[in-house]
């Protein structure tokens, strides 16, 4: 059939010449190529000690942020849990008592805040939903563990280190 | 001499096992061991070349092919068709004939003097080669013709009839 686009190329398969059928020249060529690779720069990144630079829109483990005075930003509004497509986030809200103003910024705070990391798909919708800019997915990747219960991260693992003054 | 009796016992023992084992694969494996004892016999007789040829050709090639075929067939008692009584009777008669012949020939032979080789080193490669290619050149070449004819026959059998195909 005639080609419509007129771009069809008919590949010609010539019978191999004697040198090609010997295969040895091409084998030695291949050997030379691999041998050259021995002296090239190694691509290996020695992972735990040395880490690749991560991109700006990288989404890793969550962290609950503090404000500039070291108070937790989260007000337990539940928008992140609502936005979460994987239903990974649960929380219990509590009222801020007198004398806790240096701990929590808002009058209501999350007494319990848990993310099930086995459910989480790291989509970043909680980050977008948060009105208080309290949750960010800026951590490292999830590390392996032995028990399912160890993948439910509570506030002990999520909340940022307190500010050092 | 003691070594000879030990090896002779072992070769008879293993050849009996070849006959009496139910599983054909075991039979072949025992046959390999039997051939190995034969190799030791040759070495005891100072026939190194024969020993090593027995080792390479029988143990290393022919028995591998035997094993190869048996493994592919995967014979066991379920798939083995029952032998009819006629075959059993014929087998017994043939075996008896062989036994009678053997006994008769043993009786006909005199017990010879302990074998004293004229040249004890006849089994070494160099001497064997000289004998084969000087004194016995014609029989040697004729036997190679025999092998050639066998090979041609095998090719003929294996090749398909061009008319039928």
């Amino acid at each position: 059939m005639e080609s419509l686009s007129n771009r069809k190329k008919v590949l010609e398969q010539k019978p191999m010449t004697f040198m090609e059928r010997l295969y040895l020249p091409s084998i030695f060529k291949g050997l030379a190529i691999t041998f050259r690779h021995m002296f090239k720069k190694k691509e290996t990144v020695y992972y735990p000690e040395q880490q690749r630079p991560i991109s700006e829109n990288w989404r890793g483990l969550h962290s609950l942020k503090r404000d500039e005075q070291g108070r937790e930003r989260c007000t337990a509004c539940g928008l992140c849990a609502l936005a979460c497509p994987a239903e990974a986030i649960t929380m219990t809200a509590a009222e801020r008592q007198k004398g806790e103003e240096h701990l929590y910024r808002e009058e209501k705070y999350a007494a319990v805040y848990e993310i099930n990391m086995l459910r989480c798909i790291f989509c970043g919708l909680c980050e977008e939903a948060c009105p208080k800019e309290a949750i960010y997915l800026d951590g490292p990747i999830l590390s392996a563990d032995y028990m399912r219960k160890d993948f439910i991260f509570g506030k002990d693992k999520l909340v940022e280190e307190p500010l050092k003054s | 001499m003691n070594l000879f009796y030990l090896i002779a016992f072992l070769s008879i023992f293993f050849s009996l096992l070849v006959i009496f084992s139910k599983n054909p694969v075991y039979s072949v494996l025992y046959l390999i061991v039997t051939f190995f004892t034969f190799t030791i016999h040759y070495i005891l007789l100072n026939a190194q070349f024969l020993a090593i040829v027995n080792f390479i050709v029988y143990m290393g090639a022919i028995m591998v092919l035997f094993l190869f075929v048996l493994m592919l067939l995967n014979l066991n008692q379920d798939s083995e068709p029952m032998k009819s009584n006629l075959i059993k009777v014929v087998g017994v008669i043939a075996g008896m004939c062989l036994l009678v012949t053997l006994v008769g020939s043993v009786k006909a032979l005199n017990v010879s003097d302990p074998v004293v080789l004229k040249n004890p080193d006849i089994g070494l490669v160099k001497n064997l080669g000289k004998v084969l290619f000087n004194e016995f050149l014609l029989p040697f070449e004729v036997s190679s013709l025999l092998l050639l004819s066998a090979m041609v026959g095998a090719v003929l059998l294996a090749k398909k009839d061009p008319k039928k195909a």
């Binding site: 050997l31 290996t44 | 090593i52 080792f55 143990m59 290393g60 591998v64």
Partner: protein
């Protein structure tokens, strides 16, 4: 048989056995390192400096893993397979001359376990036995993939043995002896009477045939069809685990070591090196042979490196290509090589 003789041989056997095990163990590390280097990686480097203890870690892992014997398998043969593979791999090194005779005090110590006058044929026989371990193990696993691997191994070994024998016959026509010791002695030095003494310069085609067949007999890439991962899962050792799997892998590396030693001895001058007469005079006959041993080992390591280099460069053959190469290419070339050698030797006799 005096006691001293037995002790000497026993010590030699033990040393060779330990060395071949050690070389095999460190070949596993070398294989991973070389694979890494050829692919722009660094390879194992956590266990010890530059991963020096990786073989120990691997060995420990192999030892402590669970030994699984499939319920429908044939347990006796299942255990016999890897044992036989390891055994046949180890006995090959008995006839290799590791160096010149050492003179210690009054006694002369041969650095060779057994100088039998059919040395090459012995190695040949041992190589042909090597396939039994694989076949028995593959059949006893009662697994279709294992059986396929075993059968491939058998047919491959038998096919390439013929070409190997033909390449050796041409070599024997040049050397005129089957004893490895004499072959090594004939290649003394490097240059004699205006030509190289090493056999590879007399038999380049034969060496090419031999090395191809050695690759095939060791089941190394590009001839690793019996254990090809992506067609046959793992071929004959699909069902194996723990130390029995380790025995199979170990046997492969020992085979590689022995065949490298055979190639070095037959074609590349064995323990001989250029200018060895000067060294012999300088060091005396006690220490000079050890230099020869070191040279032989350097050659062996070069060959092992070559084995690995090929492995990480060339892809695997298809099965029909393998058979085509073995029967229709290598065997005719082997016969042609014999004829050429014969013609050349006759011409040399007439002309010179």
């Amino acid at each position: 048989m005096e006691l001293a003789f037995i002790i000497e041989k026993f010590a030699l056997v033990t040393v060779i056995f330990l060395i071949s095990l050690g070389v095999a163990a460190y070949s596993t590390l070398a294989e991973r390192k070389i694979a890494a280097f050829l692919q722009g990686r660094v390879g194992p480097h956590r266990a010890g400096p530059h991963g020096m203890f990786q073989p120990l870690a691997d060995g420990g892992k192999m030892f402590f893993k669970e030994e699984i014997i499939p319920s429908e398998s044939n347990p006796i043969l299942f255990i016999m397979g890897p044992s036989l593979a390891l055994l046949t791999a180890c006995i090959g090194s008995a006839v290799i001359p590791w160096g010149q005779s050492m003179v210690i005090g009054d006694t002369v110590v041969d650095l060779q376990v057994a100088d039998i006058n059919v040395g090459i044929l012995y190695i040949f026989g041992v190589v042909s036995l090597g396939v039994y371990g694989i076949m028995i193990g593959g059949w006893a696993s009662n697994n279709k993939f294992s059986l396929m691997g075993a059968i491939r191994a058998a047919s491959q070994n038998i096919s390439y043995e013929i070409a190997m024998g033909l390449s050796i016959i041409a070599l024997l026509m040049v050397t005129g002896t089957l004893s490895l010791k004499e072959i090594a002695e004939q290649q003394h030095g490097f240059w004699h009477n205006g030509w190289f003494t090493w056999n590879v310069f007399n038999q380049p085609l034969g060496f090419l045939l031999f090395i191809i067949c050695a690759f095939a007999e060791c089941n190394r890439t590009p001839f690793d069809l019996p254990e090809s991962e992506n067609e046959l899962v793992a071929g004959y050792h699909t069902e194996y685990s723990g130390f029995k799997l380790g025995a199979f892998l170990f046997a492969e590396y020992i085979n590689m070591f022995v065949s490298s030693a055979v190639m070095a001895t037959l074609y590349w001058g064995g323990y001989n090196y250029p200018g060895m007469d000067l060294v012999n005079e300088a060091l005396g006959s006690t220490w000079a042979p050890l230099v020869g041993v070191a040279v032989l080992f350097a050659k062996i390591f070069l060959f092992i490196f070559f084995f690995m280099w090929i492995r990480w460069t060339i892809p695997r053959f298809r099965y029909d290509q393998l058979m085509h190469l073995g029967w229709k290419v290598l065997i005719p070339i082997g016969i042609a090589n014999i004829v050429l050698t014969g013609v050349w030797m006759t011409l040399k006799d007439i002309l010179f």
